[in-house]
Structure formats: C-alpha cells, structure tokens
Symmetry: C2
C-alpha cells in the first residue's frame, strides 16, 4: 500500500463529509429499546455514480436482491437501512424491500430505482413494515449535512456493535480537495468473500460508474474480504459507494493519475472501516493482524493469512496472551496451500515490542514474560515470514472471548 | 447405515477386548500432575495386519511421519503413545520418535518397524525423551489383557478430554465371534479431513492389510471426517487398526459377506468413537447432529452438513437453546454448494420432541417454549430436508461455550 504519492488527511465526521450528502437516523420502532436508533438514511443532492459489492451467500436477503437491481444502471441517490430485522427468508421480503424504496422515493422526490435498501438483524422473522413506512417522512425531514446527522445514521445501523464506525478523509489532487466518508457496522458473521457487514461510502469525486465499481471491487478484495470475526458469511452484507462529483476535479474516465489517487484514498478509508469492524468483533478484546510475507503467490498468501486469523485455537490463545505459536504453524499447515514448513519464521509484534518465537519451522527460545507483555496489548501482529518469494498479504481478525459466546448464545432475546 | 444384517453387541472394555491384545498405561513424567498417566502401550501377541489414516495438515508431527513408514508393509505389533507433548516442529523430532520405537522394540522383542508411535500435546516444545525411555520397560512389564489395563491406556492418551473414550463390540459371523475394541482422545483441534484426534482400534478378525486399509478409509470418511469441534485440523492425528486374526473366521481376502460384516462393525465402532469425541469437544455441553436429507449429491450433502456443524453462530445458538434457524440457512448458503433455498425445511429434534421451524426456506410459526424445551436437551439433531434427491449425509459437532474459551485461552500453563 503505497500512500506516499497522495497526501491523505483524516477528518471528523462520516458520510456527510463529502460535498452533496445529507444523512439522518431515527428510532422508528423496529427495536424494543426506544433509545436505540434503528433506521438510517443517506441522501445525495444530485445524481451519483454508484458501485456495490454484495454477499456471496446463496441465501441472501431481499434488500440485497433489490439493491443489486437498482445499482445496475450505475446511478443512485439515496440509502435506506434498518437494523433489528434482516428481511431474509420471509415470503414477503421483496414486497417489503420494494415498498421501502417506494416510500423513500416519494419522500425525497427521486426515482425508486435510485434507492439502495439494506437491512440487518435477525433472519427469518417477517419485517414489520409499518414503523419503516411511518418513519421515512421523519427521516427525510431531519436530513442534514452535519456531523451529528452523520452520527445518527451511523448509530442507527449498529446491531451488536459496541462502537459506532464512521470515518472521513480528504486528499488534494491537482489543487482540488476530494472528500470520502463512510459508515459501517459489524460485528458477528464477519468472514471474507464480501460477506462481511454493511458499509456505506460517500465521496464527492467525479467518476464514471464502471471505474467506481472497478476501484471498489479491487479495494474490497484486500480490505473487507481480508477480515474474519467468526468465519460465518452473512446473508445481508453489502458495501456501496455513492460519488456525487461535487468536488472540482474533472470526471475520472480512465485509469489515470486521478483514478490512482482516488483508489488509494478509497483503500485507506476501507482499511480504516474494516479494521474497526475486526477490532469490534463480537466479544473481541484485541485486534489481530496477520502478515504473511515473502510468499510466492498472492492468492496463497491471502489464504494462509486468513487461515491463521480464522483459527479458533489461535484466537483463544491471543485472548489469553499465550504465545502458543504451534497453533499458528498448524493453521498454516491446513490452509490447503503448498508451503515449506522448514523455512517459516513467526514473530509476535505489538506496541510493547517484537519477539521471535519460531525460526525455520522450529521453536526459537524466547522469554515467556516478554512474550506475555507483547501479547497483552490490544493490537497484535502475527508476523509470518515464509521465505519463498516476495509477495505479502495481510488479514485482520480478533480474539475469541467469553463475551462472543454470551452475545451469540441468545441473540434473539 | 444398515446394521440389520449383522448383530452387533456392545461389550465392556476397550483395546484388550479382542483376542491377542494387551495394554498398559503409566505416568512416566511428561505431565506435571503425577496422578495423570501420560504413556500408553498396546501390544499384540502375534503379527497383525495394520491400516492407518493420518492428518492432512502440511505441518505434521514426527511420529506421524515415522508411523506412516512403519505401516507401509501392512504389518505391525505395538502402539506407543504419549500425551503432554506433540513432538511437532522440533529439530530432533524424528530422532526421538525413532528412539522411542527402538526402545519399544527392545522391550517387547519385536521389530522397530512394527511399532506405531503417536504423540499429543503442545506443539514446538522439544519432547523430553528420558521419561519415555525409562518408562517403556515398566509399560512392557505391566501389559495385561484386562479391562483395567485397557482403561489405563485409554486414560494415558487423554489431554483436555473430560472422559476416557473406549469402546468394545462383538458380532457373530458364521458361528464365530469377532471382537473389536478402540480407544481415542479428542477434544480440541477437531475437524474433518482425517485430522481429528488419536484413535487406536484392535480386532481379532483375520484380514489382508489392503482390505483392512480399504475398510478403514471408507469408514473414516463417514465418521471421524464428519465431526468438527472447532474447525482446526491438528498436526498429529491418526487412526490405526491392528487385526490379530485370532478369531476363528477364515482370513478375509476379498469383499465378500465376511468383509461386509466386518466393515459394518468397524463403522459402528467408529461412530461410537467419533460421537464421543464430538460430545466431549472442549467446553461442549451438547452433542449436535446435523442430518442433511434428500439432497442430489453425496459430496455436497456432506459439505452442507459440515458447514452447519462448524458455524460458530449455530454452535453458540445451540449452547443458548435459541431456535435461531436463520443461522442454519445462512450456513447452508455459504457452504459453496448449489442449493434451492426455497425448498429447505429445518426441524430441531431431541428426546423432548421435534419441531418444524422453517418450511420451504421461510419461517414456520412455532412455539418458542416448546423449541426451548427441545433445545435444552444434551443431544440435538438439526434435521435439514433439501427436497432435491435421495442422498443423505450426517455430521456431528458440539456447541460453543464459555468453557471452550477458558480451556484454550491458556492451554500451555
């Protein structure tokens, strides 16, 4: 990730940071807790280029099916998203997703097929449509381009997330400022193959829809698709980008320098978003990063990194700050990739230091107290040197704690 | 599983139930706790046919490599197995595994390459060989054909297992009794692709080695390879069978009725062994069975059943007795198999009853209290009807509890 050529600045706020976007979030009544917002809206003041990436699960939610259709023409204007119910595996799911889009279109004076619709929550319970339909006018009325409005939207899409996740960045290209903003939610059922969570990104860059899709798909492969919380791939997940074009840079129509700068900024933003999801995985106490370095093939390196990040035994060892590196070798071994065990070095790295625990596939003597200190930090990197080439891959995940079990043991109650 | 044609009787004991086998188990000093046996031996009084199936992990233990070589000629006489150390990822692993076989051969007056050697425990810590070498003469001296001796061996191979796992069965073929016995250990790192645990089976059937291997490989595919505790595939696992030929049936040299009867008995024993491992998965409170019925392809049906059994979200829901069937559809959806979501029925079945929760891919109204009662039992079947054919597959697993996290958070301490 070479970010040296584009100077990215992190700013406050989220989806309303780019020019042309308003947001709102309210409690409409889907959640029992009246202080929990459950319906979010994002609105663009002008026509936007749109791109999206969706779950690979064969069982997918009605809103996923509807949104896939709506973004096919490359244009959209609004996002509506509810929490509290997934609108999946219900016989009237499509009717209700379509009715939601219709109500949004009427409230905003836009076309139905310019609406991105998304849902998150429990599967298989019919979606109560009345709270949504009666909430939409209020949502539309409270739309604002402000930091609190973006925050309301970001909190309305949360489920078991413990923290709201919104980010905004800007960069300078040829004297013009381009802004990107994003909000997302985790936090269980997080597993690669696009199939991670909900993410809504806005930007005021001007870009053709095809190029926007190309940038998004490429970035997702290295970011959202490289995180894993529990190996489950959800039925509902999507990441979309709306590009208003209201920054002053000329429309991006080919893979030139302007495209590259935007792609780098999008990658930066998506990395922020997806690591926030991984570190807020259900019950997580630690963000884990696995770097697989010096391998001979990128697809293999990605599989190896994800195999380590996904291992329940590695995750519980990290929870316990236990330098049980054998489990890392074990996870590399069952990834289904040809490897040379006798070359592998493993290091644990954190703010507290770096420690070599395995050299050439064999135990390297190390100080247990020092290892414990390093692994007691909240951000840990498992650094794996394969010594077989010059290709690197990175995956993110979290530890497995008692809390994960508690949260998921009785989710519906 | 048609067991009607062979009348299988469960008997007491384990590996010493078949004619020709002695066993022993002692504390040699590998484990800190002196009341915990850590070295087991099985000895056959005559030459045996042998078969084995081993881990598919690319990182595998030295004893796995040595045993693979030793069984190549189809014959063996003894098993030596230690707990407390995996003898994996150590530079002197092969030397020590070979030294162990040499000491066993000398103590028993047999050939070195007739020894099956196995280890289980922490990876990457050099194996202390002295306790093993000094324990072997004592082990050999205490060999007995008795139920307590078999039990000593079965307890010596345990790690985090909470229960010893040994079984014995017999059947009558043409007026002659054939006996099979087995011991095994789980209980984390349990995941298909042979790569499950340690299992040692004895029998007094007379059978050619090739046919013994064929029977074992076929049975393992439907039993040990269909269980999953945590999705991790260990570096050390193996299942071996020693056949002494001391029952009075003629040697099995082709796939005739005698072969079929033995294969059914072996399947019965392996089902007992592998479900014992699943229900004693680390921290498990419940044995889960997933039946995928009426599918159109056996490989696909197996993948679907395993995908459900492996899902952390399904496992935690079962721990909490929460009838969250949407997670089952979700796990079917990401198994990577072509399915017809709109045909799927899901039932929860236990001793307390049976309840339909999903019909044709949509929620079926059900009584939550009744579902809670059914899911509060210790053995639960998730019954999935795909309505696409006549092929069935079964997988076994366990729920995911707080205890799993506690056990694995600091395994090495």
């Amino acid at each position: 990730m070479d970010l040296t050529t584009v100077n990215i600045i992190e700013t406050d706020g989220g989806v309303t940071a780019p020019l042309g976007f308003k947001a709102s979030g309210i409690h409409c009544g889907l959640r029992k807790n009246k202080s929990k917002r459950d319906l979010a809206m994002v609105y663009a003041e002008c026509d936007c280029s749109v791109a999206g990436v969706f779950t690979t699960n064969k069982v997918f939610a009605a809103p996923v099916g509807v949104t896939r259709e709506h973004i096919k023409n490359g244009h959209a204007r609004a996002v509506i998203c509810n929490s509290g119910n997934a609108n999946t595996c219900n016989s009237d799911g499509y009717d209700k997703a379509n009715a939601t889009c219709k109500a949004v279109a009427e409230a905003l004076g836009i076309s139905e097929d310019d609406v991105i619709v998304a849902s998150t929550g429990v599967i298989g319970v019919p979606l109560p449509i009345e709270p949504i339909l009666s909430g939409i006018p209020e949502l539309a009325k409270s739309l604002e381009r402000s930091i609190p409005a973006a925050e309301n939207a970001a909190t309305a899409i949360m489920t078991t997330d413990t923290k709201k996740k919104e980010f905004a960045i800007s960069y300078n290209y040829g004297g013009n400022i381009v802004r990107l903003g994003g909000m997302c939610k985790g936090s269980g059922m997080i597993e690669p193959n696009m199939a991670t969570m909900l993410g809504f990104i806005t930007t005021d860059v001007a870009i053709e829809p095809e190029l926007l899709q190309c940038a998004l798909s490429g970035v997702i492969a290295d970011t959202f698709n490289m995180i894993s919380v529990d190996g489950d791939t959800s039925t509902n997940d999507m990441v979309t980008v709306l590009a208003s074009g209201m920054s002053n840079i000329p429309t991006i129509t080919e893979k030139d320098g302007a495209y590259e700068a935007f792609e780098k900024a999008l990658r930066y933003l998506c990395t922020k978003m997806c690591t926030a999801i991984a570190s807020d995985g259900e019950g997580a106490t630690k963000l884990l990063t696995c770097d697989v370095r010096n391998f001979n093939d990128i697809a293999g390196a990605k599989k190896l990194a994800k195999s380590v990040i996904k291992s329940s035994l590695v995750k519980t060892a990290m929870f316990g700050a236990d330098a049980n590196w054998g489990r890392i070798l074990c996870a590399l071994g069952y990834a289904g990739i040809e490897i040379d065990t006798d070359k592998i070095d493993v290091r644990f790295v954190s703010r507290a230091g770096s420690i070599l625990v395995c050299e050439n596939g064999r135990g390297h003597e190390f100080d247990e107290d020092e290892a414990k200190k390093i692994l007691s930090e909240s951000k840990i990197t498992i650094d794996v040197d394969m010594k077989l080439g010059d290709v690197n891959a990175r995956a993110w995940g979290c530890d497995l704690s008692y809390e994960y079990v508690r949260i998921n043991g009785d989710y519906r109650s």
